[in-house]
Symmetry: C2
Subunit: 337 residues, 2 copies
């Protein structure tokens, strides 16, 4: 099988290291792999197929010759580098917020809208972690009964913020247990044994950017610009794995049993729904897995044609790295790479 | 001022000790205080107004002569003892689930439905923790705009389960940080660094009893038996303080600014709502306080006449002990005690 020249930008970060691991685990056809990061992380060694690759400093020239570039960096860095790599002929799969609302850039979750990849112009955006897992769970319901509105409350892990936040949770938790003063650097308030209804910055409408991503990205992925979506995004003291309490109103009635059956057959979904035996999705179980876990599927008590359920996924994997690699796999399979 | 002969049953538990503390803090007119608990906890000493009171074993005879009894025990124990105390002439304020749906027993949150106390027959029920804080926040919105439906996701602390659960969270957290095997006794799954979408037992409809309490108690307190309410109740690794993401649809439009102003003037509510300056309610700030904290008040994006907000309260205080003592204060003020 033909192999591709692949580059991973941000290869020393929480998502970038997962991308490298997934390229190996999922036997993605790589003929050459270049790893890049900021100057600070250059020199880091990362294992790939039994070899140790050295992370080099990111530069436009280092991207030359790459056929496929995974960008696992912040919005500003992506905005600068992704067009450079695309102009030099690469397909760029970008996990940042830089291009998600750009009408020229497809925003893709392979289980939901792979057809949006057609006609791409070199850059493909992967949605935000909390959106990806929600739309994977919504898709089989939408296919069968249509969606009229979506209401979601999130329980998001600190790894979504990054490795510094994971260190802060670990540190503060120990300080709290030892009854010592808590130190803070990443979050504006204590995260140990606390819940912060604040992820990303606040918009003028009182919603956070994280909440508005759930609204706008969901509409774009479903190509349903008027779909009413509302969200409350909350950071909880969990290391890996985002959870979501989702309530939907469907166009047509869909009994919980039928929704459960549809979810069971849906790609990328694992149904864990036997509450009488304490079986439901949990972030600690989803960590390290590529699927989206759905449970607590029940008919809603407050909305006509309403369904409520609980969705959990590893935010670093399906919420970021896995989705990016799956986009590449889809494009390779479809001859777009 | 006249004082009352008061008994606290369950005086060694998480809520019972708070009741004793609040009777002192709030200068409730007590002429005599008797503390009772199970045989296991009898002999415990509890401070009250500079004295050390000894907890005695609960028995019907020990309740003789009490004019006011706070029951801070489980449902079974309440079902047995509350009628005994009431028959012997006491007013019983019960925090358990035993009588909350009994049409003969008022279910009261003093800020919301103090008028339901009239015509009581000796037993008054205090609602479940998660209901109390929600209805206190809903009441000013309901007064101004009416309620059409309520959708709530909870983030509940382990102290709602009891002192054993607090010890389990502490223990498991240390084990997780030290990468040791986790021990479990209280919860069916790990609670450290995890979220459990499971509080109390499961009903046949797929909802937990905790979720159905939010539904049924809210309807009863508002005397609105058809109000559509739906809930997802989740246990999070927080010691004290329940949080709730609430979305409501009102009968009439109510702009977020007016809702905020109404909440500011509402009894028992503290508005913390300046997100641009990182000001919003947090469980660690609510712990030890008697008020209900409300923030993130915003117009909802998915429902016509919709509002979303974030409500936090100390589940042991306003969610249990404070509400019980406030019921007693109201009855004393109104000459019912």
């Amino acid at each position: 099988m033909r192999g591709l020249k692949v580059a991973v930008v941000g290869a020393a970060g929480a998502v970038g290291t997962q991308v490298v691991r997934l390229l190996e685990e999922r036997r993605f056809p790589v003929s050459e792999l270049r790893l890049m990061a900021t100057k600070r992380s250059a020199g880091t060694r990362v294992a790939f197929r039994g070899e140790e690759l050295v992370v080099e400093e990111t530069s436009p020239d280092a991207l030359d010759g790459a056929e496929l570039v995974f960008m696992a960096v912040g919005t500003e860095a992506s905005r600068e580098l992704a067009p450079v790599a695309a102009r030099r002929g690469a397909v760029v799969i970008d996990k940042s917020n830089a291009f998600r609302m750009d009408p020229e850039v497809p925003l893709v979750v392979p289980e939901v809208n792979p057809h949006h990849l057609k006609g791409h112009k070199g850059i493909i955006a992967s949605p935000n972690c909390s959106t990806i897992q929600m739309v994977v769970a919504l898709q089989p319901i939408r296919e069968r009964a249509g969606l009229r509105r979506v209401i979601v409350s999130t329980y998001q892990s600190v790894s979504g913020t990054g490795v510094d936040a994971m260190a802060e949770l670990r540190e503060q938790t120990r300080q709290a247990l030892d009854e010592k003063p808590l130190t803070r650097q990443v979050y504006p308030h204590q995260i140990a044994f606390n819940c912060l209804p604040h992820i990303d910055s606040f918009d003028a409408n009182g919603y956070t950017l994280e909440e508005m991503k759930l609204v706008r990205e969901t509409r774009r992925i479903f190509a349903d610009e008027d779909l009413p979506v509302t969200a409350t995004a909350v950071r909880v003291p969990v290391f890996i794995g985002h959870s979501e309490a989702v309530t939907v109103q469907t166009e047509h009635p869909l009994p919980a049993d039928e929704a459960r059956e549809a979810l069971r057959r849906a790609p990328g979904v694992v149904v864990r729904d036997d509450p009488q035996n304490n079986v439901y999705p949990l972030p600690v179980d989803a960590a390290g897995r590529d699927e989206v876990f759905v449970g607590r599927i029940r008919e809603d008590l407050a909305l006509e044609n309403g369904l409520s359920f609980w969705v959990v996924a590893d935010n670093l994997r399906k919420g970021a790295a896995t989705n990016a690699v799956q986009i590449a796999e889809t494009m390779f399979r479809e001859g777009m790479l």
